[in-house]
């Protein structure tokens, strides 16, 4: 077991997404300050009056515990990207069991890199701790150092990491106990007698002498997440940052539940008018955060907001089972996947603009081609037929007749074949293409172009080109 604790130490202020410098406060004391405020000397526990004296431009905001919890649950979904074993340690810490997934990510360093990048792109600050026991990992986040010698690192931690009450801390200091190493050296019974029975148990759990089972985070059955925006947003572009948090959580949720989606809906709530639904479509089932974000970006860049947005929802529509991917054997890798780029094209050009083709059994040339959203995996067997052109005109082009012969661009055409009679389609008269009675010819022009033309009751028509 390897437990990775992720401590979002600025979560109370970062969920508020206020412009810097900002701080979350409770009972007129600072709870968390953002990076700009921390640089100016604002520390948790300071009185608001002192903080404002230090930094008059500080934006204080009452902490919102329920939003922090919602954010932590959303982050737990995101952590599903890395491991299925996630536990919450409210108010601001996640515990991930990563011993089983190191191989998949190619070692600890790449995995930690991914976690740090992911948090950074969501605008979150984190501290990490790694240890074989969950409690030690949580405590080690205080030092934010990842080391193999976790026991040595644990011993050097100050006693404040225990989170005891002020009176107990004062007594520890009075005894000259400043680090955990000093506390570990004392007999457990004495510690229990002086500081309550819970403390020796905690110390034993941290060192792995007692079991410390963690309740696993239950990934929700349905993914519907909402995100309240700190201020009304008037430009769709600016929603991407907020949408990114939701999409990354969705990707993690899908990963943990072994699902993929082909559509999801981003709902933009407005103040007065009904919400806008932005469907995001994918060419193939996916749970890749990058793909989700790319399509969302295309959609948001091209969307004109009807009214300012106050809140975002993201819901996964009809997730379907999707197998996991394995680590490549012998360094093989696939030649790149076309699905992500197709999604990007569809998001910009429209769904119908990118399609595959399927041959349909119909004698009428207009009906022999069907556009399909995705090419059919198996090619139909070839059937021998008279020559057919690669290009077909959407609307047959009328040709003049001079002296009984069709002309094209003023010059007579040279007919090379006998007439091929196509007569078909009585069944969808007045509904679709309908009944046809045509004589088809292969013809060439003086310029060497090969055309497919036909004659019907109305005259001569150009229908295709043998490209």
């Amino acid at each position: 077991m390897q437990w990775l604790a992720i401590h979002f130490f600025r979560l109370p202020v970062e969920v508020l997404a206020l412009p810097a410098p900002a701080a979350a406060i409770a009972q007129q004391r600072i709870v968390a300050a953002d990076a700009a405020a921390a640089e100016a000397g604002i520390r948790p526990g300071q009185r608001l009056a002192d903080a404002l004296a230090l930094l008059p431009g500080l934006r204080p905001h009452e902490r919102q515990a329920e939003r922090e919890l919602a954010a932590l649950e959303s982050l737990a979904c995101w952590a599903g990207n890395f491991t299925p074993t996630v536990s919450l340690a409210p108010p601001d810490t996640l515990l991930l069991e990563i011993g089983g997934c190191l191989q998949l990510f190619g070692g600890l360093t790449p995995l930690l890199g991914k976690i740090r990048d992911g948090a950074e792109s969501q605008g979150l600050s984190l501290r990490l701790g790694l240890a074989p026991t969950p409690l030690a990992a949580r405590w080690l986040t205080h030092a934010d150092s990842i080391t193999e010698h976790w026991q040595a690192a644990l011993a050097t931690l100050p006693v404040e990491v225990l989170g005891l009450n002020d009176a107990a801390e004062r007594r520890l200091h009075a005894l000259g106990l400043r680090t955990l190493a000093q506390l570990f050296a004392l007999p457990g019974a004495t510690v229990g007698h002086r500081f309550g029975k819970a403390l020796p148990l905690q110390l034993a759990r941290a060192r792995g002498e007692l079991p410390d089972p963690q309740p696993p985070f239950a990934f929700p059955e349905r993914f519907v997440q909402r995100l309240e925006l700190p201020a009304k947003v008037e430009v769709a572009d600016h929603l991407l940052f907020a949408a990114r948090r939701l999409l990354m959580a969705l990707a993690g949720w899908l990963q943990a539940r072994m699902l993929g989606i082909t559509t999801c809906t981003l709902v933009l709530d407005h103040e007065d008018i009904p919400a806008t639904h932005l469907p995001l479509g994918f060419a193939s089932p996916t749970r890749d955060a990058e793909r989700l974000i790319r399509v969302a970006r295309e959609q948001l860049e091209r969307h004109r907001l009807a009214a300012p947005v106050t809140e975002l929802h993201l819901q996964a529509d009809a997730p379907q089972a999707m197998a996991g991917s394995s680590v490549a054997l012998f360094g093989q890798h696939d030649a790149g996947n076309i699905a992500p780029v197709i999604e990007r094209l569809r998001a910009r050009l429209g769904d119908a603009a990118v399609h595959g083709l399927a041959a349909h059994d119909d004698h009428r040339p207009e009906c022999a081609t069907r556009a399909v959203p995705w090419p059919e995996p198996k090619d139909a067997p070839d059937t021998a037929s008279p020559p057919r052109p690669l290009w077909l005109q959407a609307q047959p082009q009328s040709l003049h007749e001079v002296a009984g012969r069709p002309t094209y661009a003023g010059a007579a055409l040279n007919l090379l074949t006998r007439a091929e009679r196509l007569e078909s389609g009585w069944w969808d008269q007045d509904e679709a293409t309908g009944d046809l009675r045509r004589d088809y010819f292969v013809a060439t022009t003086a310029q060497g172009a090969w055309l497919w033309i036909y004659r019907d009751a109305q005259g001569w028509w150009l229908h295709g080109q043998f490209a």
């Binding site: 790149g336 050009l349 090419p375 198996k378 020559p387």
Partner: protein, 232 residues
């Protein structure tokens, strides 16, 4: 003592020494064109995979696609997708299938103007393409340069079809062809290649719905028939 002069043959082997009559050799992959006469004049002996090939053609139906059919047929499922961007007319699926192009790996992208060039760039960037066939009549030099850059990092046969009239405009494509139809075969004029210019066009008997001989036989008697009404 003076050093013995290097033998001429040794000098000619040097990579940094280029003779005016030879084509530049690149390490890029190529795809045999299926025509010996054409392979002989193309640098590296085939269509380049990676880098644009600009095809200027007089109109639809002269065989602008049939010229590339032998190469396109060589692309197997491993190579990737064949994508058609902004086709000038509808694709007639049964014909594509009958000519040996797999519909299961063929995608069509309908786009116009700048969107078409953008789509090409995105597609080339994915690295999942075996061949790109794009009709970009209005693309400017800048758009083409972007495509040339995107395509040079891939192993994709990138064909950009453009009208004949742009032949005088400069183009960043390392290979430019002008196609003209005729009664004896497709006339392929290599306007630009990495090598010395070619004096004359090559005539290729590309695949047509009917044998070329049929065309020659039928043309001669047809000529007087056309003129007679004018004389009278």
């Amino acid at each position: 003592m003076s050093a013995t002069p290097a033998a001429l043959d040794d000098l000619l082997q040097r990579a940094d020494l280029w003779r005016g009559g030879a084509c530049a050799h690149h390490a890029e992959a190529t795809l045999g064109s299926g025509f010996a006469a054409l392979d002989a004049v193309l640098p590296d002996g085939g269509w380049p995979c990676g880098g644009l090939t600009e095809v200027l053609s007089g109109g639809l139906g002269i065989g602008e696609l049939s010229l590339f059919l032998p190469a396109l047929r060589q692309l197997d499922a491993e190579a990737g997708w064949i994508v058609i961007v902004a086709p000038p007319a509808q694709l007639h699926a049964p014909a594509w299938q009958a000519l040996g192009l797999p519909l299961s790996r063929l995608l069509v992208v309908e786009a116009e103007g700048a969107d078409a060039a953008w789509a090409c760039e995105q597609l080339l960037g994915s690295g999942a393409l075996a061949a790109l066939l794009a009709w970009l009549p209005s693309a400017d030099t800048r758009a083409l340069r972007r495509l040339q850059l995107a395509s040079s990092n891939t192993r994709c046969l990138s064909l950009i079809f453009r009208p004949e009239r742009v032949a005088t405009q400069p183009s960043p494509a390392p290979l430019r062809l002008a196609l003209r139809g005729s009664n004896t075969g497709l006339q392929v004029d290599i306007l630009k290649r990495r090598g010395p210019p070619l004096a004359q066009a090559i005539s290729l008997a590309i695949e047509r719905p009917l044998p070329w001989s049929r065309l020659v036989r039928r043309v001669r008697p047809a000529a007087p028939v056309v003129r007679e009404p004018h004389v009278a």
